[in-house]
Symmetry: C2
Subunit: 224 residues, 2 copies
Amino acid sequence: MVKWLGETTLFSGMADQHLRDLSGIAMVVSYKRRATIFSEGDQGNGFYLVKEGKVKIFMISPDGKEQILHIFGPGEPFGEVPVFAGQSFPAHAVALETSRLVFLPRDDFIALVAANPALALNLLAALSQRLRQFTKMIDALSLKEVPGRLAAHLLFLSKKQSAGDQLQLELSKTQLASLLGTIPETLSRMLSKLQREGFITLEGASIAIVDREGLEELAEIGKF
Amino acid sequence: MVKWLGETTLFSGMADQHLRDLSGIAMVVSYKRRATIFSEGDQGNGFYLVKEGKVKIFMISPDGKEQILHIFGPGEPFGEVPVFAGQSFPAHAVALETSRLVFLPRDDFIALVAANPALALNLLAALSQRLRQFTKMIDALSLKEVPGRLAAHLLFLSKKQSAGDQLQLELSKTQLASLLGTIPETLSRMLSKLQREGFITLEGASIAIVDREGLEELAEIGKF
DNA sequence: GATTATCATTGACTTAAGTCAATCGGCTGA
DNA sequence: TCAGCCGATTGACTTAAGTCAATGATAATC
């Protein structure tokens, strides 16, 4: 566990003693696929790191439409907001796959932060990074149309997977639609349109980028 | 300056010595109305506190549409993201009024954070709070329609101004539209509609809430 | 291995909100 | 004082994207 903690972004570069302290307060918990980890408004008495599996953070409207904020995988922390501000979670979390999580209880953790400036700086970096992502998401939702958001996401996946012009959608189309702030029907139409107009070729969840420059322009301008 | 710093949320509850240290690295800078403080992509070598005046943080699309992220007034910090993560600003900042700002240079400030856990915890609280706000904004943009966002904003102003059912829009209608992710024409129509349907009465920038329950439901459901 | 669910796709239609254009009023500055 | 601008409002129109519905295609479960 100490070794694993030291390999996460959040705790990288920390002294062994501090990692052992963290390990001392950590608890491993498991959630089955589709299980709720927490809901919006719940008291937050600590936060989580994904050890194995995949977790979805999302909001839901009264009539059931969902907006995904994040998909987190191994090594990534989530649920920190109520640890430091207010107390309730601002969104919902469910396991997308059967997952093992590391839970870090609030009060013990804050004591460690107070005693360890490097940890505090790592946390500040993590939250700042998250703010940057949210800024991009607000920009996309407000100033770009669906094809632009989709193009940006494809370029993001291509970069992340570093497999040249070949990439895999890592989510079901329904989940991807929810991440992009739209619905499956619209996503389906837009993928077809990108293919029809020669930006990509598409078979199932596998996509090949044909016109990277065009996609980049589309992501930038935000519309056809 | 030391006294003023101690009264900001970010530095409240801190020891005098630490406030003096902060004061030692702080510089006061002035910006005229409409002056640019920084632009998206600029290197961030420090962050700011509003001493007097009002600052707008926003993004802009290639064809000139603007989305406001925040309006900050006296005592509020902005521009922290590149201090802790990456290096460039994710958005633009301009002075809405002639303003005096306190600038805190990155490297000196980080040294103080590393030496002062209370400061680190205050910062973590501030960034967490900002994440909570962004979560609400994403929720609003993605899952609520314009009338719902407007209703939520009116209720927010009413609470903030604590003047019963009477409230003032603190921005021009154009700026308010940009904050709500819409355009002035649409905002104008929606304000008329809220009045026509008996939720509010409206004269210029003064609004009286007539049906608070109705507004709350509208803000919750997100649409008529 | 059969039977449900769930997911993806397509077509026809509706609708919220944006665009374009015109008007009015109030400030601002020469 | 007056010309010129910016902000707000309203009307007519367009459009991106959502809704509803039907069909196939998987995939999950007993």
